[in-house]
């Protein structure tokens, strides 16, 4: 399998980054809600270290994906209807935007809350801002709204992929697989 994307096919780097990100997001969302639901305890703090570590990992994978996308090419859309193709483009744009907004708003929340972070208990994450209760609440609000929007877009994204695969029986989902 080629490394790079072509006009018809996804290369293995893009595929790997896509599915790795998907896996991380599916762990990340319940982890975030679980961490939030716990009362202050050593467990809560450990769950948050996982959540922050995986979140920054998604963010770094996203930067890699964007660089790879800018540097190379991506396959042409298989959807021939203009409205559907436009919707797909908008959904993908939103997904990328949310994958920036979620880690950044989480990072600001954590920094403004005056909580030092060591990703995977190893790598110190610098504070983006100083302690600030008002900013913490605002960033947490943005983080929470973003995750609900993300869930909505993910339902559309997965629904559309399944529709193409099961009903339209085209290659949209298959060509993202290995």
């Amino acid at each position: 399998m080629p490394l790079e994307n072509t006009a018809q096919h996804w290369g293995w780097l893009s595929k790997t980054l896509h599915w790795l990100t998907a896996l991380l997001i599916f762990v990340q969302i319940p982890l975030g809600f679980y961490a939030e639901s716990l009362k202050l305890s050593p467990l809560k703090m450990d769950v948050f270290v996982w959540h922050k570590s995986l979140g920054m990992l998604v963010f770094m994978l996203l930067i890699l994906r964007l660089l790879w996308r800018i540097k190379g090419t991506i396959p042409e859309a298989l959807e021939s209807k203009r409205v559907q193709a436009g919707l797909a483009r908008a959904a993908h744009g939103l997904l990328y935007g949310l994958m920036v907004l979620l880690p950044i708003s989480g990072w600001i929340t954590s920094s403004a809350a005056n909580i030092p972070v060591k990703l995977f208990w190893l790598i110190p994450l610098p504070a983006l801002v100083g302690p600030d209760d008002a900013l913490k609440s605002l960033a947490a609000e943005v983080h929470e709204i973003s995750v609900f929007v993300l869930l909505l877009i993910l339902i559309l994204h997965i629904g559309a992929a399944l529709r193409h695969h099961l009903m339209l029986r085209d290659n949209v989902l298959r060509r993202m697989w290995f």
Binding site: P42, M45, D46, V49, I115, P116, D132, D133
Partner: protein
């Protein structure tokens, strides 16, 4: 000014110095700071106490005789209203029952490096433990002075962070405390 006035003034000055018992230094709340930093996974979380007072007495030879620090624990600010609330709990400071910490020292020694040490006791959360505070003293203009210092206190000595927090695995057992306190002097007359 007549010679008589000068003589009387001189005499008063002489008498006054002769009968000065020492100096009473009181902290100036607006210029003084008391910081503390527990650690989380080895990284400091900085906080400070907004309300505290320090009194310090020196004798005729400017030697220290007494140091007393009173801290309103509820004034602890760790830069996060949730944490500020959480540390009021029984596991942490149990502020409802122990709102004040008091350090008193009446024994002062100079260590091998020439550093002044105040040997005393810290009363906190119902425990009284020996604590030594290193002190640096610096005179300021206008009859003021500044005291600075830094020390480590073991939180388990006072059962701060008990139960599931007591291991020190996440929240370290040593808590750094440091201060810069500005004092205003008043003489202690006989």
């Amino acid at each position: 000014m007549s010679k008589v006035t000068i003589s009387i003034t001189a005499l008063f000055c002489l008498l006054n110095t002769a009968f000065v018992w020492g100096t009473d230094w009181q902290s100036s709340p607006t210029d003084s700071h008391l910081y503390f930093a527990p650690s989380y996974e080895g990284m400091p979380i900085n906080g400070h106490f907004k309300q505290f007072s320090v009194s310090y007495q020196t004798d005729q030879q400017s030697q220290p005789s007494r140091l007393k620090v009173k801290v309103a624990i509820a004034s602890a600010d760790m830069g996060n209203s949730d944490i500020n609330e959480a540390i009021r709990a029984v596991d942490w400071f149990n502020i409802a029952n122990f709102p004040e910490a008091i350090f008193i020292s009446e024994e002062f020694v100079t260590d091998t490096q020439g550093k002044l040490l105040a040997i005393g006791t810290l009363q906190l959360k119902g425990f009284v433990q020996p604590v030594t505070v290193p002190i640096s003293w610096q005179s300021l203009p206008g009859g003021k002075a500044k005291m600075t210092g830094e020390l480590l206190v073991g939180r388990n000595d006072f059962s701060i962070g008990s139960g599931e927090w007591a291991s020190g695995e996440q929240i370290g057992l040593a808590v750094k405390i440091w201060f810069d306190v500005v004092f205003i002097a008043s003489e202690i007359d006989l």
